[in-house]
Amino acid sequence: MIDRVGKWLFPSLTGRKRREALEGYLFLSPWMVGFLVFLVIPIGMAVYVAFTRWVLIDPPPRWIGLENFIEMFTKDKNFFWSLQVTLKYMLMTLIPFIIIGLSLSLLLNHKMRGMNFFRTVFYVPSVVSGVAVTLLWISLLDNDMGAINTALRSIGITNPPNWLSSPQWVLSSVALMGLWGVGGGAIIYLAGLQNIPPHLYEAAEIDGANGWDKFWKITIPLLSPTIFFMLITGIIGSFQVFTPAYIMGGTSRFSAGNKYLRFYLLHVYIEAFQKGRLGYAAALAWILTIISAIVVIIIYNYSEKYVYYEEEGKQQT
């Protein structure tokens, strides 16, 4: 039986080779089934659904062509609004977080006793992300009594920001929470830094380079693949902000925060699962995918000039 299946699947192979091929595909089968069922079929469905009026409580879906997309660009004010909120957040965090994470990793890269302890400490916020952290920051950022504003007042700032209930500051609150977790990025930069061969710095020192030269001429170019990677994940990450937006702004407790924390993904969620408009939400999700793909491709092309891949560095260890 097994022999016949093998013969039918791999007619060009014989004996041990055929057996190995058959076994290979058997080992691979969990992924192949999953790929088909949880990826290919849903993506196919997502394309179809985006062109339909598919409402949860009103079952039969109706083909409406491009109407979902037309609605998005002509009627749905929240579409542009949420896009704006997301982009604002991205501008606010993307470059600053890269600079801060990189600086931190430079500090952590020194050979010193107890350095492992600091590396552990800075990574802690990335471990505990999620709802608990959002709840913590809601308490810390409380207008009147929160620890942050009390501390600000004690150093002489008499009128600290109304973080979560003011339109100007509410996005900064989310960014502040993100900043707390910046050590996670620093650990990734650190890995990049430790891959830079020390002999390059040696050579530069012999040639009389100072610290500044070494940083711009060796560290930055050799770290550029890591920086590029963090740039891309940072962009994708901003498009995917959901939990803090939902908890800080989505609940009724902070009605003022609600509108100003309507990140794109939250908009998709509200359309899909609160209003039950699955067709429209699927169209929104596609637009998000297309926008992020375009941004990533632009940066990718632009980066060709600046990102330096050292073939030798790639192959060591």
């Binding site: 290979g24 997502a46 505990v128 913590l136 308490s139 891959n195 609940t251 899909a272 790639k314």
Partner: protein, 309 residues
């Protein structure tokens, strides 16, 4: 996709290198520099830890005691009401022991699924030879780039059609079918063992499954540990999955239950921030314990894979 071609997951460090004498700077200069770096690190370290220590302080406050004080109490000095954690778990209004058990249940299922499926698939990619292998592996890498958002709605429709809405099935079944990221790191790791091991075992009459089970799996313990920690973290912190698929309060996981807990205590009118903080802190303790006990493996894994943001 930077810097991913590194098979060694744990023992990852640049070999010890000694600078020649003539390159060493004078020692006073170096001592000052070290002192500045140390001061900066301690300063930032305190800033990073303060929110957590404030959370602990708040969580240990007794009933009716103010959580917000003037000046801010960053470190627990008086009141140590450890019973708060017990109250959070077993109170009558919104006990959190059940969500805790539910979450653990999902964590165990997901870790099992992740280990079983991804090591099987990675074994095939790393150790076997079959037609179209390269193409299939490229497909795996490609799926890693697929944004999860697009699958948000169609996955919901799929699971809804299957009648899985309101059950745990959408939250653990997919883990048994492999995930690109884990296949990738496990394959990179498994590629580093010598091929002779497999051949020797085969000559001794070991079956393919036997080789996988007796040779590859035991050697892959480090990468399996990394996969398990990441899975634990992902499932424990997952908010959107349970939010979308669970509708029965009895089935809620910790992340969802926490938001309800916060709302229910706030709506009751009494100031119970101490209990909310106790609940939030309790939900992070398993992650912290796991992190500190397996810190070396985890940071080594993140460093060499460099992918988990």
């Amino acid at each position: 996709m930077a810097k991913v071609e590194m098979p060694d997951l744990v023992a990852h460090s640049v070999e010890k290198y000694k600078k020649p004498k003539y390159l060493k700077r004078n020692s006073v200069q170096r001592a000052v520099k070290r002192l500045i770096i140390l001061a900066l690190l301690i300063g930032f370290g305190i800033v990073v830890l303060l929110p957590l220590s404030w959370m602990l302080t708040a969580a240990l406050r007794g009933k009716g005691e103010p959580v917000y004080t003037l000046p801010v109490s960053w470190i627990p000095t008086r009141s140590f009401h450890f019973e708060n954690f017990w109250i959070v778990l077993t109170n009558d209004a919104y006990p959190l022991w059940r969500p805790l058990v539910n979450t653990l249940f999902l964590v165990v299922l997901n870790i099992t699924g992740v280990i079983v499926s991804n090591t099987l698939v990675a074994y095939a990619f790393a150790r076997l030879d079959f037609p179209h292998k390269d193409f299939l592996f490229k497909l795996v890498i490609l799926t890693m780039l697929m944004p999860g958002v697009v699958l948000f709605i169609p996955s919901f429709l799929l699971f809804n059609t299957l009648g899985w809405y309101g059950t745990y099935l959408p939250l653990w079944v997919p883990s048994f079918f492999g995930s690109a990221f884990y296949i990738f790191i496990a394959r990179q790791y498994m590629r580093s063992f010598p091929k002779d091991l497999d051949d020797a075992a085969q000559i001794d009459g070991c079956s393919r499954l036997g080789i996988y089970w007796r040779i590859t799996l035991p050697l892959s313990v480090p990468v399996i540990t990394v996969m398990s920690i990441f899975t634990f973290q992902d499932v424990w912190n997952d908010f959107t999955g349970p939010l979308i698929y669970l509708n029965d309060a009895k089935k809620f996981t910790l992340s969802i239950a926490l938001t309800y807990f916060q709302r229910s205590t706030f709506s009751s009118g009494v100031n119970t921030t101490n209990l909310v903080m106790a609940a939030a802190l309790m939900s992070t303790i398993p992650l912290l314990v796991l992190y500190f006990s397996l810190q070396k493996e985890l940071v080594g894994g993140i460093a060499s894979v460099g992918l988990k943001g």
